[in-house]
Symmetry: C2
Subunit: 236 residues, 2 copies
């Protein structure tokens, strides 16, 4: 009873987590039912429900309708990987963000790009290439293709003032995104623009965004492997 001021459902959550952490309840063991918790803590069922439901969302317990609640088998080591606008990310570290625009142009989709955007080969696409600097140090090279249907004036945007990510989010409501992170060796141009030495590896995030019916954008974000890492934390 360390905190009587905590909300009741938080106290119930803390109690359950404590039983799991100190080993009293092993994975697969049953967790008290909502009505049992209701009686034990002198709370209403809605409050007990909220506590257990949130633990289920966090992956700590597993609920089966009609059957009961059990401690989750493997405590998931999971974490929310935030993919954010590089501008905001740098500002949050209280650093200065600058950008150098290398290329903004209209291009024709090759077969691979056409497939990504669900357009025909040769369809018109916008293409931008730029380098982002944090405190003057190159930290990301952004090579992006954009569907003209969602941002017809993309070529006129001033990307020293706003980022493509921000521009797109403001002009095309985001409905879906997928990404992958890989390690690769950069191309000669990427090596030069990021100020890398020969053979130095990079983290590459490829990100595809969807806005309503359209595939909005495909971005290839190249980070110097030695100056950048994706990280996260998870707490039970």
């Amino acid at each position: 009873m360390p905190n009587t001021s905590l909300p009741a459902y938080e106290q119930v959550k803390a109690f359950i987590k404590a039983q799991i952490n100190n080993g009293s309840w092993r994975p697969g063991d049953a967790v008290p039912s909502e009505s049992a918790l209701q009686a034990q803590f002198g709370i209403s069922r809605m409050t007990a429900n909220r506590a257990v439901k949130e633990l289920a969302v966090e992956g700590v317990v597993k609920r089966v309708k009609g059957s009961g609640t059990v401690v989750a088998q493997l405590h998931r080591i999971s974490s929310t990987l935030q993919i954010r606008d590089i501008h905001e990310e740098i500002l949050e570290r209280e650093h200065a963000h600058t950008a150098r625009v290398i290329r903004v142009e209209a291009v024709r989709a090759d077969a691979a790009m056409a497939q990504v955007f669900k357009l025909r080969t040769g369809a018109r696409l916008f293409h931008s290439v730029m380098v982002h600097f944090e405190e003057g140090v190159p930290i990301q090279m952004e090579d992006r293709h954009v569907n003209p249907a969602v941002a017809p004036n993309y070529l006129e945007a001033d990307f020293t003032e706003t980022t493509p990510t921000r521009y797109l989010l403001e002009h095309a409501p985001l409905t879906e995104a997928s990404y992958s992170i890989e390690a690769t060796l950069p191309s000669p141009e990427e090596t030069r623009c990021l100020g890398l030495k020969r053979g130095e590896p990079c983290l590459v995030m490829t990100r595809r965004t969807v806005s309503g019916p359209h595939v909005a954008s495909l971005a290839r974000l190249v980070y110097p492997g030695i100056r950048y890492s994706f990280g996260g934390k998870f707490q039970l």
Copy 2:
């Protein structure tokens, strides 16, 4: 009104998401208050609260106590990065998992390792090195240090039968974990064990797990950059 059978709170969530996705409500715009939704949908306040609260958890809207709810500024492109036992991950792809144990031993902590584990320099640690294969192809090299306090019999485990991750999860309830993902060039030993060519880059995940009062384990997981990527998806 496509689905009258959907739970009421899901209908409210769908309504709000639709307004955002079709551009009627822009980032920063106010979302109707709980009492307004209550009246509009003919539901109780608890139900309206649940709908908006879940959207807040998903990052679609932002709530400020006493002030109100607004559409989130930047729709977070976020995704749960699952960090899982490599054995389960491979089985889920319906592939065969095998492992080759290279080294299992007790070592003395150097200064850096001691700091990670919050032990004194020279303290006894367990150390294991192994390679995981998917369908016979090397896919991860795992170099792991383990705190003897949480797994005193670690050296006796048969890691061709179980993975260190699984062994630790079963012997030490997990309370906290942090990780980072970087791109690096592998060491000569890693290059050899993973069957890489010279200069081929790798994804390295460094993962630290905590169990109760102890730092349980520090793992360095090396993946061939060309054969592996971390990926995820996000849907509004």
